[in-house]
């Protein structure tokens, strides 16, 4: 247990020491998105009865949260693999389950910290309601958990920084940007609505947004089932990878 707590503490300290880059920077990026899009669209667009700026905020919060959860575990692992310092966590008597939990919890906590930062700075620009706070929390934690675990898979698999960047730019970015952060999928043509339903990040954001406004594109229960199942699948895959020692123990 002390091993797990120490590894978690190390992971938290790691990103906190470079907090300007790992927390402040993504908050600023989200704020810029909000300023630009709300300036252009807020006067003209209502989504599901909600003004555009308010509609946009939960999406930006969730997008920043999941992107940073992914970035945390993946970059920590690849850095320690490339510098060789991963050996310090492979030599001690830490089980693969503790290893998994420490990295995922750290990723979720960084995601929550960034998400909260985005919420704080953007909520000045539009009045928000919090209809169902527990739904907000559930989707935030599960969303961060999925991307945190996924980040572990990417960090373990990638041998070089550019492979990880490929993962981030060609998979995580499109999945998050095209998940309904900036629009309701009902505004899309039928075909693209169907495609969006295949994207788990869509359910994270839709369920998360339900917690604020009480309205969503799909029923929040459906989103919770999809998101919960995704978390389970990604977690089991990550645990299996860790147990096998893939690319960590030869």
């Amino acid at each position: 247990m002390i091993g797990f707590r120490t590894l978690l503490y190390k992971e938290l300290l790691r990103f906190w020491k470079v907090g300007f880059q790992t927390v402040a920077a993504p908050v600023l990026s989200a704020l810029l998105y909000l300023l630009i899009f709300s300036h252009v669209l807020d006067e003209h667009v209502l989504v599901n009865g909600v003004r555009y700026a308010a509609f946009l905020i939960p999406g930006l919060v969730m997008m920043s949260l999941v992107q940073n959860a992914f970035a945390n575990s993946s970059s920590s692992l690849i850095q320690s693999k490339i510098t060789g310092s991963v050996v310090f966590v492979l030599l001690p008597p830490i089980s693969y389950v503790e290893f998994f939990l420490a990295y995922v919890v750290a990723a979720v906590l960084r995601g929550l910290m960034v998400g909260l930062g985005v919420l704080v700075v953007t909520s000045w620009f539009a009045p928000l309601t919090y209809v169902a706070p527990l739904w907000i929390l559930a989707f935030a934690i599960l969303g961060g958990g999925i991307l945190g675990a996924f980040g572990m898979i990417a960090g373990i698999w990638a041998d070089k920084f550019d492979q990880l960047a490929g993962f981030q730019n060609f998979l995580i970015m499109p999945l998050t940007m095209l998940s309904g952060v900036f629009y309701s999928i009902h505004s899309l043509p039928q075909f693209w609505q169907q495609v969006s339903h295949l994207n788990p990040v869509f359910y994270m954001i839709d369920g998360f947004r339900y917690g604020f406004f009480g309205v969503s594109d799909v029923p929040p229960e459906t989103s919770l089932i999809v998101v919960g199942a995704s978390f389970l699948v990604v977690s089991v895959a990550t645990l299996m990878l860790l147990r096998s020692g893939y690319k960590l123990r030869s």
Binding site: S80, F88, P92, P93
Partner: protein
């Protein structure tokens, strides 16, 4: 005395390369044991198997009776490993690094022992310095400190003095010798043969994944090398016919390996009778380097079918 490390018929392949080919060793508690061999002999692979970083294809390894696979938590708690690569976590200071490493081994509030290690490794003044700002030698010492935070009964040092200056090396060895006197088993791999000769009570030599020699250091020295006589002939003369083939030429000197002192007189007589003048003559006791060269050469010859077994 119980067995500190037991290695039984360990095999490991990396693709087509057989890194370990049935290695068996037993290292007793309290020993200072040397693991020698040329690059690629399998030393680091063997240590990695012991540490759980590499999974062997066959065979068993245990630390103080605890299997490194089935009972990996206990086995890893009993081991302290100083890795060969100069690795560090750039986010932390020396003290943070050591506190974190203690926590990984389930130890909290370890500052008293950490202070003692820091003092012994001459790192006290650097305790709050970020790892990135340390010199290579200091980083190496932190690696040693990291391996010791949990006071492991078995300490494995994989070439710990590579890139460390002489003064520091002496300090490090004094510290490790003290730990050994206090009962810690020490396993050392090194390229500095004089270091192994001075420190290790027993030595295994590895080549191409096999143990080619295993004995006490003194036995190895006695058995293999005896003495060498090196002769510098006047006017760079060639050796007379009867002696050719018995000596090797090294930096302008003819080097004879002697099985005993009785060989000296006939050798000098042959030179005298052939009219060879002698500019310089040295009789030296063999060191581990001679043993090492002898064993490795013997293995080469054996592989090519020339000479009988020299590795006992």
């Amino acid at each position: 005395m119980s067995v500190a490390v037991s290695i039984e018929q360990v095999e490991k392949r990396f693709g087509r390369l057989k890194a370990l080919d049935g290695v068996s060793l037993q290292i007793d508690e309290g020993e200072f044991f040397g693991l020698l061999g040329p690059n690629g002999a399998g030393k680091t692979t063997l240590i990695s198997c012991l540490a759980g970083l590499v999974r062997p294809d066959a065979g068993r390894l245990s630390v103080l009776g605890r299997d490194v696979v089935a009972d990996y938590r206990a086995a890893r708690t009993l081991l302290g490993i100083v890795p060969q690569e100069l690795v560090f976590d750039p986010f932390f200071s020396v003290r943070e690094t050591l506190r974190i490493q203690s926590g990984y081994f389930g130890i909290r509030n370890n500052d008293d022992w950490i202070d003692e290690i820091l003092a012994n490794l001459d790192l006290t003044s650097r305790a709050d310095t970020n790892m990135r700002r340390l010199s290579g030698g200091m980083k190496r010492r932190v690696l040693v400190a990291q391996a010791l935070v949990h006071k492991p009964p078995v300490i494995v040092l994989d070439e710990p003095t590579a890139g460390v200056d002489v003064e520091l090396r002496q300090g490090l060895w004094q510290f490790v010798q003290r730990l050994n006197r206090e009962g810690h088993t020490v396993i050392l791999t090194t390229h500095y043969l004089e270091e192994a000769e001075a420190l290790c009570g027993r030595i295994a030599m590895l080549k191409q994944g096999r143990v080619v020699a295993l004995d006490t250091t003194s036995n190895l020295l006695a058995r293999f090398a005896g003495h060498t006589l090196s002769v510098c002939l006047a006017d760079n003369a060639l050796l007379p016919e009867p002696l050719r083939g018995r000596a090797t030429l090294s930096e302008g000197r003819w080097v004879f390996r002697l099985a005993g002192f009785a060989e000296i007189e006939p050798l000098l007589r042959t030179l005298r009778e052939a009219g060879c003048g002698i500019d310089d003559l040295r009789l030296t006791q063999a060191d581990l380097e001679d043993v090492f060269v002898g064993v490795m050469q013997g293995e080469n010859d054996r592989e090519s079918g020339k000479v009988a077994d020299v590795s006992r």
